[in-house]
Symmetry: none
Subunit: 331 residues, 6 copies
């Protein structure tokens, strides 16, 4: 072949290959999602996500401190509450007994965590707390009441910030909630809190295990009216550009793996850092695929993280974070 | 929120969502990969790919005919031979007893298959036939001998075309093999046979189950010297543009799922139709993930196919093709 | 010729050709335009559009139900009223006796239509209802009064939504009417209703038969001051981008056939789904051309639909919809 | 509406509208296609193309001279021969009795035509002259023999140039014929003759009346193996870029009307002037549509020409050229 | 200010800042330039580059081995020879006594170096070896003889590869030398050796200390006829694209610091990995600036490396490499 | 080499080289930064910036007048005050005794300066005047109080305009200060005063000598919360686009040299003129590098200015301005 058509020589050794591709992700750019319960010292494994646990709001502190020593620099907190306390407005999202509120208070008081400024990112949504299981409030006809919803989400955000959250991450997909949250935080003197918007969040089937973990499946209907249709490039890009316009500090594409092309398109059209969420279904696929011998777990997970970086993400949210902190050190 | 920031109304019903996204894939654009053995009427399930079988070269004909009635319009054939017949030049790739040669002869003689012009796509590589398991020939130092390799691959391609192949699909990743194959086919009067190049094929860990299926793991070393480094956007684009320049009629990105962003980038830079190969590891992950209850198999597979289309692929090669033919009819 | 210059092999069979081009349009992405009169059960053929009828507001229900069984998922409604009731503000656009209002009430009450969420798209314009035949209100000097016009169009839109419309489609080309409509709908609690804007609507001569059908030719002057000049690329793109900024959920290029290049340019510059309207003059040309033996009707219509898709449209509005639903099934 | 959203003021008068759009086409950029027969002074109307005639090779001279006085600056010549003289190699394409050869000799000898350098463009194809009706030569299996075909087309081109052609326009869609023609012309000392390649010619149903006119329907099979699939953007662009690479001086998109988006894409990707052919089916549609009162013929034809220009074509080939020469003068 | 105009919150802590910017460079992507002399065990500091030494061809081995233990993965070798052995063709570039040849033989024989595949990159130029000090051969008029020069450079490259070089890096800026080198290497069986082209090398004054180090100042005239004019964007981009077309595997911009914008432009236009050379003058400026208290050396050097990465380089060639290997570990 | 690969001929002479690159900077596009003290006739050299002085507010007038005769057309004024007068609100920034206020009054009264309309650009910041040394006001918790800060900066700007400033240049990096300044100036009738925003100002270590000169090092903490992280492309572009949206008339990138790629990216994304500030650390590096013989000072400085222009800057702010005025005359 003509020499200009020969590519092999350019990646024929380990060092040459490292010249061709993305650098290994920095531990500081990994975010670990954690489920927090109201049983202070509880710790129970999540059946559909082997290796992942729900921690009590007190127990989670030592767990995070342990990982901080391993290099962890950011966690993303989800609350889990019993069905019995759920109501139409999701009161337990931000009441004083809310597991996320309690956990944020304790985590932000930890000297270990503060000393190296580990970020406490609070997921904000209502679906874990409402009796109907939808991500916003409903009007009497059972449809999303958008204006009231974003007001409520802003209140919850404010409560989390007061409890110690460093970053607010709304995952609800209501229209206009980034502006509403930023507005309220500002009027209360918290304009220094950045917002990481779940800006391109798809109505994906790969959230299944998460819903088990967080007990957040909708009681009726589905979320196709606010989460994005999987086939839509246009809406995904519009939603990201819209959230950037409303003042989001970070954008997110979720799920990461089945939407790598969307990461690339958002990357090409905006200048904000992009987070990508490797969701519970991806975790499960990689875990069970490896368990059945289809591939080696470490190799496969690292290939997916490399792919997410190559697609253009700056920040990766993954349930494999504890292992990744180790694997990255080994390299 | 300002009306221009509201997106919900645009995807609030089933028909509206279909206006937002990609159309369901046409059955004609699905390709089913099949493993063919030399035991004429054999049929054995592949342990790491539940539901997928290796068929004997005679048995495969009835299987394909059955699927053609379901709407199948293209198959991709791989050969599997016993370790005992492998040698340094992969003679069994194109000898008269080669299972792929025999299968092509029988398939192309089938009235059912011919009557509706189902495409017989022949994968061309040496790794299933060489004793060292590499995709090309080796020089005395154990390194790839590129010039001899592409000559050999062209010979194998010619044999397959003579046996009845409609499309040649080289998966070896040797430099310059598209030009070599086209050249030889033309000089022998077969310039009407298109080439589907595995143009952006990565050194992925997700080929594991395939290697079991085809018995094609390399005896020593690995394929990182010719398959692309997972983190490299640049090489992936260059390899696709290079193959287009050499006359490829179709490009391919493999694996599909973990490389959706690469499909988008190749789509934006070339005008050739793009095939995407949902590989064995992806099949295994989806299969075992669903088996363990992480999600519903049909929903999950359809979401991955939609994603591959959204990323820009025209043709999808998937082990789920038989199910997809059914599922698409149901919609 | 050099092999890289040979293209024939890539489209030498039916399946290969389907790999090269766009997939057949999904029935869900076709929209059927219908003319509705105030004579409840009327049904009269439109002379210049053989095969197309004006239906009474009651009669239209059974017609739509019949087509829904064939796969129809969206209709676009136009009203036709007698000259005698037209006035300067187009009162009959939204008075209780308005044929479109009555039809929407009945259609939205049909169990068949509701059960599979067939979309009722209401065209909004004044030209069918004003005595001067212009698309907006006029000031005393006989010029368009833009601010009053868009307020009036918003009122009509609200009336249609209250009567049951699922989508509002303003065809008037007044400046700023998308924002005005969205604003009013929102303030009345209908923010969930999407707007499909006739965003690039040209001052074309191919609307002739439609004007016969709808009785909407202007009484004096023409529409060149608000419909776009046929030769203008720049205005066509600006008008589409402007409407996207005002919150349109879908854009439209009208006519489709003579403006395929505009569809492509709007596609490349926006992320909204694009509808294309194959207008009455196009219908007539195809019909009479086929009638005189210039070509086969089905083949010709399908070639035009394929071309509209190739140019980048997601949604096609065509008077051939009933036939297309059949032809698509046959393929 | 915000001032930035107001567009009306920009096209509120005739002059402003002319500032927004394309200039009227120059008569010099129109090309008139003419069918030439071997009956020297013959003149017969073509039934499916009312108003268009087949002229004898001598009669055509006075016809062209007459139009030259009206402003005509280019003709495109097609030959029509009786079925009885057709053979497998299309001998009558370039034999001394060939109507095109004879017409070129006479036309190029006309003082009127020469004095104002009216361009004689010779269409080059074999389908009007072969007994099988295909555009190239066939091999014994009835398939296109591409290498022999382009050699034959080059010979025909040379004969036309020797007879007086100013421009060679190959319409056959064989791979590599532009290079073959340029090569032969150069080796014979005619490197100054430009080639206008039918580079993006689709397998359209809108050629029907032309086939009647030229008697060139294929005897068996169809032309889908060399004319482009209507839905394929990629092949259309590749074919144009390929022909530009082979040295074409002008590119052509055919048909014009249903492929306006392709004109725009070729315009954006190449720097050659683009011709667009408004084909016989388009002529018939416009003619019969106007005849049945759907629209005014002149207005409609002018809108189609404006659209072709807006899409990016520099040169328009149209059967309406004689009328256009008049209509343009009237403006 | 409007919340969407507030940026502070997005970079208000250490971890947030790491989310905003480029990851720390991987040690594997640093290249250390070394000057090699013919005095086997020599070691002398370079006066104008404090801390940098010229090593004898034997002594250099232990130095590299020491750094390999610190994480070094690539060196770039320059030869230094006494004025007395220089001649018109630069014989000592590749004669058996050439320090680079001798060093490559010894380095490539080192078990330490081979075991972890540290890359031996050989700079190829003639200026260190010619009596006239120009980078190519001269014709009798004292002008560059380009054709002979690139032949000679190819010969030198071949000698270095035979001696053990892993990568050839031509720094001469002759037209066409990448193609010439690749061609010769291929014809001799070394097609697996990649070429890193100094593709955008400017006629900069910041090479001063290097010329002292290598003794390579031109005897008369200057290099403005082959090194690029500092103000030229156009030539810099063309030269990079040209070298990519000739088959370069890696491109280089030199100097790095004063040409960061060129790195960005080359990055946006090509898909090859880009190396950036922080040259001797940049080293001196940073060293002496810090020595005089203008800034802290470590902070300043790391800011320059971050800037080079931000501009788009994948590989950084720096005299600070030994310190960087330490500093990166400390972070 | 193929002719298309030969570039030398295009820059083989001095004139050709000048055709390839940027024109020498016009003296009118240079800005000279000056430090002004309250000791009316003072003049003391700055130790870490040899050749640069702090001038008293009266003394500075003759210095500027002198340079105006050399071609100077713009100065940028910074104030230096004794530690003893600094307070929490930076009162001395705009009190009647403020050295900048006094200097502006005298400079704007100079007939020499006015006669040739030399621009008086006033840097606006608080760090030289606050006891805590931060660029904005602090709240009780020691964090930046953004809203109060931008109000204060607007007041200072107004004072400078009243004292005679022609251009206001805020260097503080508070969010929203461009809008605040423009608003206040407009409400006071000074809407004709343009604002040059330090829009992309990085937290660089190359400001060291400046801090000595201006006595403006922060008393505690650092400026990483408002100056941009060096590795962040995204924030740099966003901040520039944001300031353009707020009405800035000129943008600035600071420092120039280590951020040339940012200049290019801002150039490509905005249409405002761009100033680039060659900062004190760059001055020191060039000065001491030349002093130690690494290169010739004039050649090196001119190469850096050329590079800043090539990267896209229109205006260069440099401490070398006095020398540049001479050197440019010599060319
Ligand atoms: Zn939720
Ligand atoms: Zn292989
Ligand atoms: Zn109207
Ligand atoms: Zn033909
Ligand atoms: Zn040199
Ligand atoms: Zn400051």
């Amino acid at each position: 072949p003509p020499v200009a058509h020969c590519l092999h020589q350019g990646y024929s050794s380990r060092t040459l290959r490292s010249w061709q591709g993305v650098a290994p992700i920095s531990p500081a750019n990994l975010v670990y999602p954690l489920f927090v319960t109201h049983e202070a010292d509880g710790c129970e494994e999540i059946p559909s996500m082997p290796g992942q646990c729900r921690y009590g709001y007190r127990r989670v502190v030592s767990e995070v401190e342990r990982l901080v020593h391993e290099g962890l620099r950011a966690v993303l907190l989800f609350g889990v509450v019993p069905q019995s306390v759920k109501d139409s407005t999701g009161s337990w999202a931000d009441c004083p007994e809310s597991p996320v509120v309690l956990a944020l208070q304790l985590l932000s008081a930890s000297a270990v965590i503060r000393s190296i400024s580990t970020l406490l990112v609070a997921d904000v949504c209502l679906c874990e707390y409402t009796d109907h299981g939808h991500c916003g409030l409903l009007n009497p006809h059972g449809r999303i009441a958008n204006t009231q919803s974003i007001q409520r989400l802003a209140e919850v955000s404010l409560a989390y910030v007061k409890a110690g959250a460093d970053v607010i991450a709304p995952s609800d997909m209501m229209d206009g909630r980034v502006a509403a949250i930023k507005q309220l935080l500002k009027s209360e003197g918290y304009e220094h809190i950045p917002v990481m918007s779940y800006s391109s969040k798809f109505a994906s089937c790969f959230y299944g295990p998460f819903r088990d973990a967080a007990g957040s499946a909708p009681g009726f209907g589905d979320r196709k009216g606010y989460q994005l249709p999987p086939g839509s490039r246009g809406l995904a890009i519009r939603a990201s550009v819209r959230d950037a316009d409303e003042g989001a500090d970070f954008l997110m594409v979720k799920p990461a793996g089945v939407y790598l092309d969307v990461i690339r398109e958002v990357r090409n059209r905006t200048t904000l850092p992009i987070a990508a969420y490797q969701v519970s279904g991806e975790y499960a696929m990689l875990y069970f695929g490896a368990q059945h011998g289809a591939f080696d777990l470490k190799t496969a997970v690292l290939e997916t993280i490399t792919s997410i970086q190559r697609a253009g993400a700056d920040i990766v949210i993954s349930y494999f974070t504890p292992q990744l902190l180790k694997w990255l050190k080994e390299q």
